[in-house]
């Protein structure tokens, strides 16, 4: 039985469609109910919906053999897993944003509000810039408006939320997309099934 962790939400639904196209369908997943685990014994596959930021934990700990996680989560938590494929889905960018009037004169410690403390710390360490990290769990955009921080480091998709809060991207850190990941031990013992899925998904990505 191959255990697959899917990220809840729209991305998860798109990703499931890719697994389905790879021949690992599980019709019960489309039933409108509140179940979180779905199994197709004939195809020897079990799917479960988990919080997107938890997918890598399920995979790293072996509760899931494979899963799909955003590159942002992989960079932030650095799980010990294989990153097998860029699925070219859920594309966005990790960026630094600040109020339109902001000017960094480099004279004082930069206050950075973010959910992604490790990514922010690594980025500014690379620039040699001293920062004070303020860890927030949501509504990051209001931190500079209320004077809690100078800038934010966050995921930017369309930029609409930034615009509506009078913020703008001042630096791009890196592009983000969804990745197919695998538990290292599962990859050894279920290599045929995982490689099969990987091959099909690769084809689907290249046909896009």
């Amino acid at each position: 039985m191959l255990n697959i962790a899917l990220p809840k939400g729209r991305l998860g639904e798109k990703v499931y469609a890719m697994f389905e196209a790879a021949g690992y369908e599980c019709p019960s997943i489309k039933e409108n109910n509140r179940k979180l685990i779905f199994e197709n014994t004939q195809k020897q596959v079990r799917y479960f919906w988990v919080k997107p930021s938890d997918v890598s934990i399920y995979v790293e700990r072996g509760a899931a053999d494979i899963g799909v996680a955003g590159k942002d989560i992989l960079l932030e938590y650095e799980p010990n897993i294989y990153e097998l494929l860029d699925l070219d889905l859920g594309k966005c960018r990790m960026a630094v944003a600040a109020p339109k009037s902001f000017h960094d004169d480099g004279m004082r410690t930069l206050r950075v509000a973010t959910k992604f403390t490790n990514i922010a710390a690594r980025y500014y360490a690379g620039l040699g810039r001293e920062i004070d990290i303020i860890k927030l769990n949501g509504s990051i955009e209001i931190a500079p408006i209320l004077g809690l921080s100078d800038v934010i480091v966050d995921i930017v998709e369309t930029g609409t939320t930034l615009k509506e809060n009078n913020l703008e991207v001042i630096a791009e850190i890196l592009p983000i997309s969804a990745r197919l990941i695998a538990n290292k031990a599962s990859f050894k013992f279920k290599s045929a099934e995982i490689e099969n899925i990987m091959r099909s998904m690769k084809e689907q990505v290249s046909k896009k």
Partner: protein, 367 residues
């Protein structure tokens, strides 16, 4: 009696017997080591967070987080001679998940001295046999850092590139590695070689055939020849089908060189065995000799067995003050002679799981 031992304890018994057969001698060491030894070689350790304390003379000591450094420290170089030792020791490290210190039961062996290809094979073979002793559903994956290193040297000598590329190789992350290469202006032929390195793994003869085309430098050819020779020897074993080549095993190249390997058991989510050749570490410690060894993380064996045995005892034997000592003793002995596990109690303990209740109290009440 063997059934009563925990899986780690059972493993230690059989591993000791295996290592002794190949002439490995037990290596016993103190729980403490001078802190300086670790601070000088902290990158060699899995974690540099070490439990320290002052000895009565003021010297800073550590609860050992590693065994290999203590073994290297004590040996001497002698031409043609090898020190072959095995150990099972507790080491003290910070757990990745809890970020608290944890006692880890480790077993392993080291072959230190004038080592040659036979010694490398012997250690690989013992690694595979160690895994097989625990479960026949195992896989030992072998990489050769000589190949990884020479292909990286060939495509780009930039240290920043190299560091990041190694991380991607360890993740089997061909897409980000290709992007990194393009950012560094590496030609398509170089990208193709690195991609082949990541995507070529598995059955040994298949990997050897695929590597033939990409190992073009003398260093890479030499390393490939070593893999071929080891593979031929492994072909002659009955566990050879479970030993594969995989270049995503990339231990720290400032300490390790040559053959590195990792072992997995079906049912355990992480590698349970890790090892390799660490001649570079020996140089750092002022030794001329070579060395190879491995460690087995026996604490991970807990994951193989669920604690779902239905009952703590077979019989809960209830007695009271009026029960004669003679009757109680003979009933216990009778049940034990029938092969049952018995717990004699005056009242049923709340959490005790028992298969059957035998009540020898005078006024019998139901269990």
């Amino acid at each position: 009696m063997i059934d009563m031992l925990k899986s780690e304890e059972r493993a230690i018994f059989s591993l000791r017997a295996l290592y002794r057969k190949y002439g490995y001698l037990p290596f016993k060491m103190s729980k403490f080591e001078e802190y300086e030894l670790y601070i000088r070689n902290k990158d060699f350790l899995v974690s540099d967070r070490i439990i320290t304390f002052n000895d009565t003379n003021g010297k800073l000591l550590a609860l050992k987080p590693d065994v290999t450094l203590s073994i290297i420290k004590q040996g001497e170089d002698e031409a043609g001679v090898k020190q072959k030792v095995y150990y099972n020791e507790n080491v003290y490290r910070v757990s990745d998940s809890t970020q608290h210190y944890k006692e880890i039961m480790q077993a392993g062996l080291e072959c230190v001295g004038d080592i040659d290809l036979y010694d490398i094979y012997e250690v690989l073979s013992l690694a595979a046999q160690s895994l097989e002793l625990i479960s026949d559903k195992f896989l030992l994956e072998i990489s050769h850092l000589g190949i990884v290193s020479s292909i990286l040297d060939e495509v780009c000598d930039d240290e920043v590139f190299r560091k990041q590329a190694i991380l991607y190789i360890a993740e089997k992350n061909a897409h980000d590695l290709a992007a990194l290469c393009r950012n560094h202006g590496i030609a398509d032929t170089g990208i193709a070689k690195l991609t082949a390195l990541i995507t070529t793994y598995g059955e040994r003869s298949h990997v050897i055939a695929a590597l033939d085309g990409i190992c073009t430098t003398p260093e890479a050819r030499g390393a490939l020849d070593e893999l071929k020779a080891l593979s031929t020897l492994l072909d002659q074993t009955d566990y050879g089908d479970r030993v594969i080549f995989d270049f995503s095993v990339v231990n720290d190249m400032s300490y390790y060189n040559g053959i590195v390997f990792k072992g997995f058991l079906d049912g355990i989510c992480d590698g349970i065995l890790a090892g390799g050749q660490y001649d570079k570490m020996m140089r750092r410690m002022g030794r001329r000799a070579g060395a190879i060894g491995f460690a087995l993380y026996l604490d991970l064996l807990e994951q193989l067995h669920s604690s779902s045995e239905g009952y703590d005892v077979d019989v809960l034997l209830l007695y009271d003050q009026s029960t004669s000592l003679q009757t109680l003793n003979s009933t216990v002995n009778q049940l034990i002679s029938e092969g049952k596990r018995v717990s004699a109690q005056k009242a049923a303990p709340q959490k005790l799981r028992y298969r059957q209740c035998v009540d020898i109290r005078k006024e019998t009440a139901s269990c």
